[in-house]
Amino acid sequence: MRRIHLMRLFEYRANFFFWSFVDVMWTAFNFLFFSLLVDVTGNLAGWSKDQMFILLGVFTIVDAFVWSFFHSNMKKFTADIYNGDFNMVLTKPVDAQFWLMTRENDYTNILRVILGTVIIARSLIRLQLHPSLLQILAFVCLLIASLTLIYFLWFLMSTIAFYVERLENINEIIPNIERIYQVPHQIYTGIVSVIFTTLVPLGLISSVPSQALLGNGSWFTSLYLMVFALILVIVSRLFFTFSVKRYAGIAG
């Protein structure tokens, strides 16, 4: 399936390179904004410029996955429900949720993953930090937990499409709230901190994996992120299975 998507992508090479350029441009835009901010204020919630660049590098990798694998799949998921084409998903000889997760892929964001990784490495060198194997392993696990959290939260919201007549812009919620995990979670205080680090821990998505690399993370927060992601997987599965029963497709 992925090979087919890759072949389709390279069918129009100019289009691929153009969209890769656009994606890199957005990445540069984000880095510029926070660079200007930290240049003026000195730090952001106690994070220095290089530490912020590590966080933004993690955010860039996360965002690349969001736009490569999540956005197009979720858009197609809700569109199929509204158009009555969801029958084709349910009649496939694979698990419906698995099919919904993997059928659409866009690899124009590959460059952003590479860019994010390079920026993280460069910032670690500038900070004279040498993460141990355990730290790198923790980083990878926490990155996977972060991606899992975003994806299954998005899936949970998109499943609401079974209950309303049309709500295609439900897929715009996650892209519109990405700023939450573009900044260190220490910036949030009071009730906002409770919402973004405990109730719906989006604020931890980029911060916690970054802190694993920086060596100043908290075991409790890291564990909380992973457990929350796991709970979300179970809840979204149950909600999807329950909601599918409401679906009535059209013939054809």
């Binding site: 901010l37 204020t41 709500l167 949030y188």
Partner: protein, 266 residues
Amino acid sequence: MWNKYAVLFKTYFISAIEYRWELILWALLTLLPLGLMFVIWSGIFKAHTSALGYQLPQIIQYYLLVAIIDEIVSVHFESWRVQQIREGKIDLFMTWPLSYLIDVYIADIANKCLYVILTFPLYAISIVIIAALGLLASFAMTPLVIFQFLLLLFSSMIVEFLVGLIIVILGFWFEGAEGLEHFKWVSMGLLSGWMIPIAFMPTLLKQLVAILPFRYMFAVPIGLIQHTESFRVGDALYQAGFIAVLLTIALCLWSKARKKYGSYGG
């Protein structure tokens, strides 16, 4: 003569309110990034009382005005209009008694009217709440400032529309013309003061912003209200000249595009 435009406006307006839950969600999604910006800047100003002459109330006022101006001036028709052209679905518009460009304009105005009606009460409530928290700078304005602000708002609407229109017309030649929409967002977002106040930019970027006409879209109108910018006759002529150039480009491209267009069957 105006009846056909009124009918077109009414049709697009009705079409826009067909799915109400989507409208409510769009209105909320408009406020969400603004709320997040406030949270971030509040966090920054916990450690600093001011930054480059801006205190928290001025920054909040700045981004509130950015959001309101953006609501009025920004256009979002590039991607689906380009798709419409690439799929050969504008045959109908070529046979209508009014130009496809006018149709694009009226559709944009109708959608804008609806979203302004939806979101402005929410902005008004936000202003009341922020003012009650003592976090909003004053909006004291003279009649001249109000006039200049409205003039800049109108010219910004025209600039955004013309840039969007040029992108749409380029769809006659380029497969991925809608990607230029992103290029527009990034470049105009940076150079107009949408992303960050000009005072926060490095010297080189400030010089570039001073030369280009995009600052009249956000930085200058907001600066008029915050008493950090001025708007003279020379500025007005510069902006008018820029609009004239954009209009000329759009009309020339449209003239060539019409001759190039071909669709089959249907």
